[in-house]
C-alpha cells in the first residue's frame, strides 16, 4: 500500500491535481487573510463593475462587483471555503456509511446482504437530484444540512461498488486463514478485508469530492444550499444569471472556479485509479 502510494506521487496526473487542490485549499483555509474585502460588504454605489483591467473597472475591486456591490474576488475565495468544507465532510460521511454497510453486506452475505442490497436499490430508484432537493426541503438550508443531504444521497455509490470488491476479497485464502487463527469477524474485516479494498476506496473518495462540489453548487444555485449569508459559487451564478448582459464576467468567474475544482478532483481520482489499482497498473491501460 505504501509502495502504491509512492507510485501515485510520481504520476503527473496526481501531482498536477494535488497542486491545483493545494492552491484552492490554501484559499479556503486562509480566506480571511487573502480576501481584500469582507464577502458580505455591500457597496451600492458601485454595483456590477467589471474586473479592474476592463474599461469601467475599479482598482479597488480586482474582479469586479456583483448586483449588490459585493467584491467578486472575496466571494470567490470564501466560496472556495464553502466548497472545500462540503467536499471534505460530505465525502467522508458518505464514505463511512457506505463502507461500513458494504463490508457488512459483502462479508456476511445472506439475509444481511439481501437487505442492504434492496435498500440500495430503493435508494437508487430516486434520481439523485430529486432526492437531494426533497431532503433539503425536509432539512432546511445551511452548510451542515447540505453536507447531510449529500451524505444521505451518495452513500449508495460507495456501498454498491465496494460490496462487490469485498465479495471478491472475502473469498481469498488469507481471509479464511485469519478466521482459522481465531480472529473475530470484526478483526478479520478491519485487519484483512478493509486494507484490500482501501485503494478502491481512496479513488472513490476523490471522485465523490468532485460530485459534492457540484451538488453544493447546484443546491446553492436553486436557493436551497448553504443559506444567503454564506458565500457560495452556485449562489454567485444564480445572481449573475439575472444580470448576464450587464456583467458576463460575474457568470464566467464562478463557473471557472467550479470547473477547475471539479477537474482537479477528477484528475486526482483518475490518476489514483491508474496507479493504485494493481490490475489496471499491470495492463497499462
Amino acid at each position: 500500500m505504501a509502495d502504491a502510494l509512492a507510485r501515485s506521487l510520481r504520476s503527473p496526473r496526481v501531482l498536477i491535481a494535488l497542486g491545483m487542490l493545494l492552491c484552492i485549499g490554501f484559499c479556503a483555509v486562509f480566506a480571511g487573510l487573502i480576501a481584500p474585502h469582507d464577502p458580505g460588504d455591500q457597496n451600492l454605489l458601485s454595483i456590477l463593475t467589471p474586473p479592474a483591467w476592463v474599461d469601467g473597472g475599479d482598482r479597488n475591486y480586482l474582479l469586479g462587483t456583483d448586483s449588490l456591490g459585493r467584491d467578486v474576488l472575496s466571494r470567490l475565495i470564501y466560496g472556495a471555503r464553502t466548497a472545500m468544507l462540503v467536499a471534505l465532510f460530505a465525502s467522508f460521511g458518505a464514505m463511512v456509511i457506505g463502507t461500513v454497510l458494504a463490508h457488512i453486506a459483502g462479508y456476511f452475505g445472506g439475509a444481511v446482504d439481501w437487505l442492504i442490497g434492496r435498500a440500495v436499490d430503493v435508494w437508487m430508484s430516486f434520481p439523485p437530484v430529486i432526492l437531494s432537493l426533497i431532503l433539503m426541503v425536509g432539512l432546511g438550508t445551511g452548510l451542515s444540512k447540505v453536507i447531510l443531504a449529500i451524505v444521505l444521497v451518495d452513500w449508495t455509490r460507495f456501498c454498491r461498488v465496494l460490496r462487490s470488491e469485498v465479495l471478491i476479497v472475502t473469498r481469498h485464502d488469507y481471509v479464511a486463514a485469519a478466521r482459522l487463527l481465531g480472529f473475530t469477524h470484526r478483526q478479520t474485516i478491519v485487519r484483512e478485508v478493509f486494507p484490500a479494498t482501501a485503494p478502491l476506496l481512496i479513488t472513490l473518495v476523490s471522485l465523490e469530492m468532485a460530485i459534492a462540489v457540484i451538488v453544493e453548487a447546484i443546491l446553492s444555485f436553486v436557493g436551497l444550499g448553504v443559506g444567503a449569508d454564506q458565500p457560495a459559487w452556485g449562489q454567485m451564478i444564480a445572481d449573475a444569471r439575472q444580470y448576464v448582459y450587464q456583467s458576463p464576467w460575474n457568470l464566467l468567474l464562478p463557473i471557472l472556479a467550479i470547473f477547475i475544482t471539479v477537474t482537479a478532483f477528477n484528475l486526482l481520482g483518475d490518476g489514483l485509479r491508474r496507479t493504485l489499482d494493481v490490475r489496471l497498473a499491470e495492463t497499462g491501460r
Binding site: P127, V137, I214, V222, G223, L224, P248
Partner: protein, 338 residues
C-alpha cells in the same frame, strides 16, 4: 417472440411495483417530518385556529401517519394527487401540463448523446495506437468530468451571451403563440402549421438539449470504445480480415453491431439519469418543464406538488429502464432462448 417480450415487460413492471410502493412511502414520510403545516398554508393568513383545525381534519392530517399514507395512495392511484398549496390547482394536472416539455427535451438530448457518443466512440477506437490516442483519451476524461449543470452554464455563456447566436430563456420567443394539441410543442406547432413557432422552439431547444447530450455522451463513448476492444479479440474479426474485408467494413459491419449491445444497456441506464438531469438544465434555461415546476414547489414547500412530481420522476425512470431491458432482449438473440 412477441409473447416472450410481453411476458418480460409485464414481469419487469410487476417487479417495479414494490419498489414504487416503498419509494412513495419514503417520499411521504420525509415530507411529513417537515416543520410546516399544509393545512395552515392552504388557508388565508387571517384564518382562525378553528378553521385551521377543520381544514386539518378535511385534509386527513389528524389521522395517524400510515392512514394518511393510505388516503394519499388511494387518491394517487385514481390520479388525484391533491391540490398544489401555492398554485391552488390540481397537482396531477400541473404535472401533466409540464411533462411533455420535459420529455421533448430529454428525447432530443438523448438523440444528441447517442450521435456524439457513438461517433466519438468509433473515433476514439479508430485513433488507437496513433500519436493522438493519449490526447483523445485525456480529452474524453475531461469531458467525462463536466456534468450537465456546468455544460448548461458554459453553453449559455459562450453561445448565448458571448456570441449571441442562440436564445437561452424559455421555450419560444416572447410574443409567439403556444399552440396546444398534444402538449409537445415541436409537434403541435407543425400540426397547426405555424412554422415560425416551430423554428423558434427548435432554436430554444438547441442549447438545453446540447448541454444534456454533451454531459452524457462521454460515457457512451468510452463504453463503446472498450467493448470494441473486446470484440476485436474474437475469431470472427480475424476471419473477416482473412476474407479480405476492408478495415472500415470490419469495424462498421461486424464489430460495431456486436459492440453496440453492451453500449445499449449502459445508454439505457444513462437515459434514466439523463431524464432527471433535465431538472437543472430547465432551471438554467428557464425552460417551462417539470423541473422548473419542481424547484418552485420545493421553494414554496408545496408538499402535494413535490410528492406528485417526485413520484412522476421515479415512475418515468423505472419505465425507461423497463423499455431498455425489453429492447435488449429484442436485439440480443442469445437472451431469447429460455
Amino acid at each position: 417472440m412477441i409473447a416472450l417480450l410481453l411476458t418480460l415487460i409485464v414481469r419487469r413492471l410487476l417487479s417495479a411495483v414494490p419498489i414504487l410502493l416503498i419509494v412513495s412511502a419514503l417520499l411521504f414520510c420525509v415530507l411529513r417530518i417537515l416543520p410546516v403545516d399544509p393545512a395552515a398554508m392552504s388557508l388565508p393568513p387571517n384564518a382562525t385556529i378553528e378553521e385551521i383545525e377543520a381544514q386539518r381534519r378535511a385534509m386527513g392530517l389528524d389521522q395517524p401517519l400510515p392512514q394518511q399514507y393510505a388516503i394519499w395512495l388511494r387518491g394517487a392511484l385514481h390520479g388525484d394527487f391533491g391540490r398544489s398549496i401555492a398554485l391552488r390547482r390540481d397537482a396531477g394536472e400541473l404535472v401533466a401540463q409540464t411533462l411533455p416539455a420535459t420529455i421533448q427535451l430529454a428525447a432530443c438530448a438523448m438523440a444528441i448523446a447517442a450521435i456524439l457518443g457513438l461517433g466519438g466512440g468509433l473515433l476514439l477506437f479508430h485513433l488507437r495506437g496513433t500519436v493522438l490516442e493519449p490526447l483523445a483519451d485525456l480529452a474524453s476524461i475531461v469531458l467525462l468530468s463536466i456534468p450537465e449543470f456546468l455544460w448548461g452554464l458554459i453553453l449559455l455563456f459562450v453561445f448565448g451571451v458571448l456570441l449571441q447566436w442562440l436564445p437561452f430563456t424559455g421555450q419560444v420567443a416572447p410574443g409567439l403563440p403556444l399552440p396546444h394539441v398534444t402538449g409537445f410543442l415541436l409537434l403541435d406547432s407543425l400540426l397547426v402549421g405555424r412554422f415560425d413557432v416551430f423554428l423558434s422552439a427548435c432554436r430554444h431547444l438547441v442549447l438545453p438539449a446540447l448541454a444534456l447530450g454533451l454531459a452524457f455522451s462521454p460515457t457512451i463513448m468510452r463504453v463503446l470504445r472498450s467493448s470494441l476492444f473486446d470484440v476485436y479479440l474474437e475469431d470472427y474479426i480475424v476471419q473477416a480480415r482473412l476474407r479480405g474485408l476492408s478495415e472500415g467494413r470490419i469495424l462498421l459491419g461486424h464489430a460495431f453491431k456486436n459492440a453496440s449491445l453492451p453500449t445499449l444497456t449502459l445508454a439505457g441506464v444513462q437515459f434514466g439519469i439523463l431524464f432527471s438531469g433535465t431538472l437543472l438544465v430547465e432551471v438554467i434555461y428557464s425552460y417551462p418543464g417539470m423541473g422548473n415546476l419542481m424547484v418552485d414547489a420545493v421553494r414554496n414547500a408545496d408538499l402535494p406538488l413535490i410528492q406528485a412530481i417526485g413520484l412522476t420522476y421515479c415512475v418515468v425512470v423505472l419505465l425507461i429502464n423497463t423499455a431498455v431491458d425489453s429492447l435488449y432482449v429484442v436485439l440480443n438473440p442469445k437472451l431469447r432462448v429460455r
